[in-house]
């Protein structure tokens, strides 16, 4: 089992969701996050005072999948989120020790999807 963490542009969320649904990845947790990458954030101006380095709005997806679904999920996120420019985001993949469905107590691969 793997936990896939994707940081994407907020306006790409709908496209990514559509691509994930197409490969039957339907379960995810979505949060609003702030971050910066190579573009080093942005500049805001308040009454003539400049503040550089403001963090940008991003969306984070947390998706837990069985091994078979790892590559399709990555492909779906890439397809939905990519514009080819800076700020498109990142995908991180980490091993997942355990997964428990609270309603039934099921564990492991059965509980994940």
């Amino acid at each position: 089992m793997k936990l896939i963490i994707a940081i994407i542009q907020p306006h790409k969320l709908e496209a990514v969701k559509k691509e994930l649904e197409a490969v039957e990845v339907n379960l995810m947790t979505v949060t609003n996050v702030l971050g910066q990458g190579r573009q080093k954030g942005h500049t805001e101006i308040y009454r003539g005072a400049k503040e550089a380095g403001g963090l940008l709005n991003k969306v984070r997806l947390d998706i837990a999948v069985n091994e078979d679904f790892v590559e399709p999920t990555i492909a779906a996120i890439n397809k939905g989120a990519r514009t080819g420019g800076v700020g498109d985001g990142k995908i991180f993949i980490v091993d997942l020790h355990e997964c428990i469905r609270i309603s039934s107590g099921e564990r492991g691969g059965k509980a994940i999807g």
Partner: protein
Amino acid sequence: MNSGDTAWVLTATALVLLMTIPGLAFFYGGLVRRKNVLSILMQCFIILCVISLQWMLFGYSLAFGPSFHGIIGNLDWAGLNGVGMAPNPAYAATIPHSVFMIFQAMFAVITPALIIGAYAERVKFSAFLLFTILWSTFVYDPLAHWVWSTGGWLKALGGLDFAGGIVVHVSSGISALILALLLGKRIGYNHKPIRPHNLPFTVMGGALLWFGWFGFNAGSALAADGIAANAFVTTHMATAAAGLTWALIEWWHNGSPTILGAVTGAVAGLVAVTPACGFVNPMNAMFIGIMVAVICYLAVAVIKAKLGYDDSLDAFGVHGVGGTVGTIATGIFAQKSINAAGADGLLFGNVHQLFVQGLMVVVTIVFAVVMTFVIFKVVDAIIGMRVEENNEVMGLDLTQQSEAAYTVIE
């Protein structure tokens, strides 16, 4: 007595109330961080409660009561004794005396509320309360007496202040600067802006200020007449000019016109036209608006950054500087053909008026600086003006009021 005049001044009174809450409260409330927004709303709200009562008990009598040598009113009208339904011809012959009193009450309320902008996000509530009552009694009431009351010494000199450029804006603005200097910077303020938590609040508050200001300025005619109409038009045009000018300056200077800039410029325009609105024509009001936007922009965006004091929400930069610009401009652009009860300014051949206006500014600044310094030291000694460091970091909403504006988790 005139029913039209009475109806208008009563309406204008309600409009001026709207300037403090929710106008100023949200204008300032949006500019602070989310942990302090309720402290601003609370300060504005409580000032309305406390100063209204102070005004009834003794403030009105000190400001407008029978004069003691032009310096201060005596206490003959304390508790509104004798301030009833019959007009007081010395102030307004066509409306009940009580209507004049309650209209003026709203001015007494908003003036200390303007100062909040200087000490926002770091003042103890108890100290704020004591400071406000003392400041209102020992700074606002005497100044209102000098400039507006029958027998006031600045009025006797011929100083012009139609709706409170001196009494309201210069006095609160310069006091704000002294407070910002005495109180010191907010933790974390290092020549970098602290980001406003809700600019839509600020825009809504600023728009309500514009709306309410028609009552403030046109209501100051104390009649539903041609002077009120002129004040209404000049107020509007100066504000429009200042809002646009500020946005254009930003566009040129920083690359983007901001809504915070436009609304700040509009408020600066409102401030500057306040002393002038009943004495100048609409074209000159527009020039006043353009002028004040340029000067206040320099004060807020350039000079404040250079000097490094933390006037949190620019109470000095907008109200102190804007009020001074407006008071001087009144000495330039005032014309008797607009208002026979006024005077001609520099442009109409009367150098003397400019001198009198300058004198009023200097007197007000000296008086407000000295008194604010003394009152600050007294309150600081008794209560302590500034909150503890950990309270400031946690925010005033939680530490002063035990409540939070926004929940993150249900």
